[in-house]
Symmetry: C2
Subunit: 441 residues, 2 copies
């Protein structure tokens, strides 16, 4: 068999890194539930035609085929989901009769994209999504609520501060149309590249692909360069002197978003008019984000308002949601040891074994400790105590338990202190009970 090498694009962690990952996932889940979102978990596969309905990502889909399928039996009709929005849309349609609307769901799952590994992108990664989906209508205030859920969740993680950068599709569309650019979707896709390629290339692309005049290109770039932490962006846009109902509607919404969000969590949301989002199903607020000190990572949390992603022809299910790129964050904070676990194992206590004939006694001690919620392991060998202590030390297990002629005793192997204990009541400190996850050096 071939030598074992890691598969590029499929990240995996050693146990200590996994402890950090679990802590991050637990915190996200806990916060989403505090905000009254219900968990759902969807299957990994969707019919290919449903995955392809969101055209531009089609090249990234992994199709499934059974190894032993007879010819023609499997019609390449299933693929792995590449995000959690397409599955949500399908889940809502499939179960709409059993769901209560507005339906508040969170979903933390792996997704897969067949990216070329040489791009250094993940091919398997975890996303954490929250969405509110209404039936036929959905109030605007959810567009203020949802980014705050994410800011609250991200602020509980041991990572640098995250700020949401927001714009509004109605502002962009109203503005472009008012200056005479009619291919709004293509214009958005070009503006979306601004951070990557710079203003000069964006100007060229606008001229080439949407036939923008130099004036139109200049105005488009001027809009994209507006970024304010308060509602003052609106004055700067009104100073263009453009007239469009859609633009006015969008401006009102964006003002409400920035003011409403910062009233609840100061510094949470800035207006950033270059935020375009490549996907064409957004119809209102759009969100990206910046992880302070790690801008090179790109947006770690993105989303927006969509009016018609989910529809069965008769009913529509408008929604608003954001998605955290969990693996992107973890790759940075675990990979660069920004965040570490205080030990490699869940174990708080190693019960020493005097000799193999006393293993059953050690096992009984361990079961009693576990009953009191103390993670406990029995030493796998009855080697000399020095070796058993070394076993604990290598894993970062703080306490070793001994049955001595003088009764039960516990050694804190970090201090070397050994003390007699009442086996029915002794507890490690809360800080020692479970591995602690801490940021930084």
């Amino acid at each position: 068999m071939a030598k074992i090498v890691p598969l590029s694009g499929f990240p995996e962690w050693l146990p200590a890194g996994r402890l950090v990952e679990q802590k991050v996932l637990d915190t996200l889940r806990e916060t989403f539930e505090l905000h009254a979102f219900s968990s759902i978990e969807t299957r990994a596969v969707e019919p290919v035609e449903r995955l392809l309905a969101k055209g531009e990502t089609s090249k990234e889909i992994y199709l499934l085929r059974r190894l032993q399928a007879s010819t023609g039996q499997d019609k390449d009709d299933l693929g792995l989901h590449f995000d959690l929005t397409v599955p949500l849309a399908r889940y809502v349609l499939e179960n709409s009769g059993h769901l209560d609307f507005p339906f508040r769901r969170y979903q933390i799952q792996k997704v897969w994209r067949g990216e070329r590994p040489q791009d250094g992108r993940f091919r398997e990664f975890i996303q954490a999504d929250v969405d509110v989906v209404g039936q036929d209508s959905l109030a605007f205030h959810h567009e203020i609520e949802l980014p705050l859920v994410m800011v609250d969740a991200l602020s509980r993680l041991p990572i640098p501060r995250v700020t949401i950068h927001a714009s509004n599709r109605k502002v962009a569309q109203g503005f472009y149309e008012a200056i005479g650019l009619t291919d709004v979707e293509q214009t958005l896709r070009i503006v979306d590249k601004l951070d990557k390629v710079g203003p000069d290339v964006v100007s060229e692309l606008l001229a080439r692909d949407v036939h923008a005049t130099p004036d139109q290109a200049r105005l488009t770039l001027e809009l994209a360069q507006i970024q304010t932490a308060d509602a003052s962006f609106a004055d700067r846009i009104q100073a263009f002197g453009l007239h469009s109902d859609l633009l006015d509607e969008g401006l009102n919404e964006l003002v409400d978003l920035v003011e409403g969000a910062n009233a609840l969590i100061p510094g949470s949301v800035v207006a950033d008019l270059k935020i375009a989002r490549g996907l064409d199903y957004y119809t209102g607020s759009v969100y990206e984000s910046v992880l302070e000190g790690h801008a090179d990572l790109g947006s770690v949390c993105s989303g927006g308002r969509y009016d018609s992603l989910v529809s069965d022809g008769k009913r529509t299910f408008p929604g608003v949601g954001l998605s955290i790129g969990v693996s992107r964050i973890l790759g940075r904070i675990i990979g660069q040891k920004v965040v570490t676990a205080s030990r490699k194992v869940p174990t708080a206590v190693l019960v020493a074994v005097n000799d193999e004939s006393e293993r059953a006694h050690a096992e009984k001690t361990a079961f009693a400790l576990r009953k009191r919620a103390i993670p406990t392991e029995v030493s796998p060998t009855s080697a000399k105590f020095g070796k058993q202590i070394k076993y604990a030390d290598r894993r970062g297990i703080p306490f070793v338990w001994f049955s001595t002629d003088d009764g039960e005793q516990v050694k804190d192997i970090r201090t070397g202190e050994q003390f007699a204990v009442d086996p029915d009541t002794w507890m490690p400190s809360l800080a020692d009970l479970h591995p602690q996850i801490t940021a930084g050096e």
Copy 2:
């Protein structure tokens, strides 16, 4: 687009069922960590040659292909894992320099098998595995420890009692060889079908496939029919008067297992000599299990000792482990409503909105409650209070919060009682704080 219908073999739950699933998964994880197992999570894919190395399941593998791959670019070289043992073996080899042995790991993940849907089997399901893997050697006592971890975990779930049924490959092999049956693997595979096809068919298969004489078939069936809750099985086997060192070694181990396990958890393990396990990599103890009252489900927790599943030629990594078929259990307890959640949402409190101008105040109240770990939602509308209460009622949210001219008040909508509260200290009872999962009827 085609009408949406559920995909057979890919189970999904409504939010209330998902609450039960989360509770089950949390309990398993908590117990595994109490027993000092470290979590790992492996990628969903493995190289196909590695999946195929465990021959007999090859027909069930899902291969991956990128939709837009050029001809010859993807060589069908990746497939979805069909269990968590093959990934463990690969993970241990890939990371052996960074792991501490014996390596205690648990893993709770989805696996995929391309079963034909008409068999009513799952094609995507969750397994929960624990294994201890040694380097070059692994003490026998782990074969007593591991089934007890699973019995402890399963006993914490809101499900009927689970008993582990155990045998030992050395007993089977020593016995078959002593009576002159040399094709041990094929004999095991035939005996493995006993529950499904009955003794007569097993006799026929033994005659046909391993050329067993009527006497050999009779003895094989007599062995398979021995089942005892204590060590008395050993006397019955010794009464056959067979002589084999391997048989004696296996009997000693099985006696130690049954006596050792039941000394720690009475009634946890019975000796059941028909337990064969189809997989050919087991070399010592083998385990299956019965969920009381649901024997038709088949084994919900199985595994065994393996000496050479994991090897890189130079070193071997012997191990012992068991796997819980979580989806099989969930399908029964959620599907038949054996276990239910006390409400459909995580929410404990709905904050009513007097009118839209006061939504910001309601949001502030909600943020303050969440800071004190109370799952809280703000009413999506400022409709009449009766409608807002109905909104809570439909979801099972127990409390509605009102800002009145007489101060902050909370209504328990189950009793209709409304009382003034101190917003900084009021707490729902623990039973109301989170959805409760209870075994029904």
